[in-house]
Amino acid sequence: MGGRFRYIPGVVTLRMDPHRCSGCGVCAQVCPHGVFVVEGGTASIADRDACMECGACALNCASGAIEVEQGVGCARAIINGWITGGPPSCDCGGDGSSTCC
């Protein structure tokens, strides 16, 4: 994000195990915020606080080296989750809304 937009630091659930990494580079490719860099045959987390927990990297890491709690950063979804006691759900109005989640 070039530093222009930053969210609350030190909270994200992103974890990566360098021993399992094959250096394929897919994580760096799919991440929309440039969180990973791949150098010398392994990936590393270069900018953790830029992570938005979208889950693209973990899903696409064939070696299973990445873990992150994927979710929607939508206040309404989280409230729904609190009320129902289930996971955050963002069926805001249930009409395929594109604004939320």
């Binding site: 994000m1 937009f5 969210y7 799919v30 991440c31 929309p32 992570c51 696409n60 950063g73 395929g96």
Partner: protein
């Protein structure tokens, strides 16, 4: 039972057609006969954006135009106002742009019509296939989060459309923002196609293809320009109509009840001043906050919203009946803006759910206290408790 190969409007409910894409499902397929236009079938209306049909080994495939026309613009405007958003979709399946052949690239997208339109309008002069997944009319990013734009749907759609017979290569260009739903290595295993993640923005697709399917780092980054921020903020005007009604009713009741059992005069004063302040807060949270996002203080959206609300809410002094009510109205506007600012996390492109939850736990109690104080001041101000 929906065969996209005719390019007709979706008539079956979403989900019911997962297995029925391709010529097999269309019976004999729309072979043209004398006196009928190619691809015409009784009872099916052809979409205005389908210019013709291309004969392929799996039957006729609709060729779509790369320019947007009046119906597209009207539809887009309505959907932005919240009208018919859930039904704004095209039939999933295979489409063509230009005159694609077996070597032409396959671009994967969602069946939300706004998404489909924003892709095809960037493809002028290109020859390509578009594979539309069934995301129930939700855009790529949201659908990927819900996994409807996902590995299984992609593999299934490739098979159902007989893609292996249409193209000789085994590559699918999937928009990068589909990656939270599509596991490239799984797709390869399930249907033999290699996923190449394309750029974030459809506008970069020609350059991406030109460069031999290579995205520059800039093409891989999600930005959040002011225009986008305001556009998603404005949608709340349509989304929140019901809340507005409840707010109005609550204000009316709160102002009316009291000395003299129920005073209509006081209720009216309370209603319009309170509602005007709420709308100032609404604009603060949904318009000013998105617009000024990078410059508002703090990381928390609730705080950014509150600051925007203090600015917008200063407008209450133009109509506040007295200082006491004015203070209540101003504070109320700030609380409303803080709430809507906090909700804007869902539209933003860089907030993490863990962070949003943390900010909400801190902000909601404060918003509650602020609201209670605001209501008390305003109620005392409009008189006769």
């Amino acid at each position: 039972m929906s065969c996209s190969a005719i390019g007709r409007e979706l008539s079956a409910p979403p989900g019911s057609d997962a297995q029925s894409c391709g010529p097999g499902a269309c019976g004999a397929g729309p072979t043209s006969t004398d006196g009928a236009g190619q691809g015409e079938l009784p009872g099916y209306r052809r979409w205005h954006f389908v210019s013709s049909f291309l004969e392929t080994p799996v039957g006729p495939v609709p060729v779509v135009k790369t320019s947007l026309e009046r119906p597209d613009r009207v539809g887009a405007a309505l959907v932005r106002l919240g009208v018919g958003r859930g039904r704004y979709r095209v039939a999933p399946g295979l489409y063509a742009v230009g005159a694609p052949g077996p070597e032409s690239p396959v671009l994967v997208t969602a069946n939300y019509k706004l998404t489909f339109d924003s892709l095809r309008k960037e493809l002028a002069g290109l020859n390509a296939w578009i594979l539309v997944l069934d995301t129930a009319g939700v855009n790529v990013w949201c659908a990927a989060g819900k996994k409807t734009f996902g590995t299984m749907e992609l593999a299934r759609r490739v098979a159902a459309c007989g893609l292996t017979e249409v193209v000789s290569h085994r590559r699918l260009v999937v928009p990068q923002l589909g990656a939270p739903g599509v596991a490239a290595h799984e797709v390869k295993r399930l249907c033999g196609f290699r996923v190449v993640f394309g750029p974030v923005r459809a506008a970069d697709i020609p350059a991406f293809l030109e460069a031999g399917m290579k995205a520059t780092p800039a093409m891989r980054r999600v930005e959040f320009p002011a225009l986008d921020r305001v556009a998603v903020g404005l949608v709340e005007f349509a989304n929140e109509r019901r809340t507005m009604l409840w707010v109005a009713l609550a204000l009316l009741a709160l102002a009316g009840i009291g000395q003299g059992v129920f005073s209509l005069q006081r209720a009216w004063l309370g209603l319009w001043t309170g509602f005007a302040a709420y709308m100032l807060g609404f604009a603060g949270g949904n318009v000013l906050c998105p617009l000024a996002l990078p410059w508002l203080p703090g990381r928390s959206f609730a705080l950014k919203g509150a600051v925007a609300g203090l600015a917008a809410g200063a407008g209450v002094w133009a109509f506040a009946p007295n200082a006491l009510a004015g203070l209540g109205l101003w504070l109320g506007a700030a609380v409303a803006a803080s709430w809507y600012g906090m909700n804007f996390t869902g539209s933003s492109t860089y907030t993490s759910p863990t962070g949003v939850e943390k900010e909400m736990r801190a902000a909601i109690p404060l918003q509650g206290v602020g609201l209670a104080v605001a209501l008390a001041l305003w109620r005392l101000g409009v008189g006769g408790v």
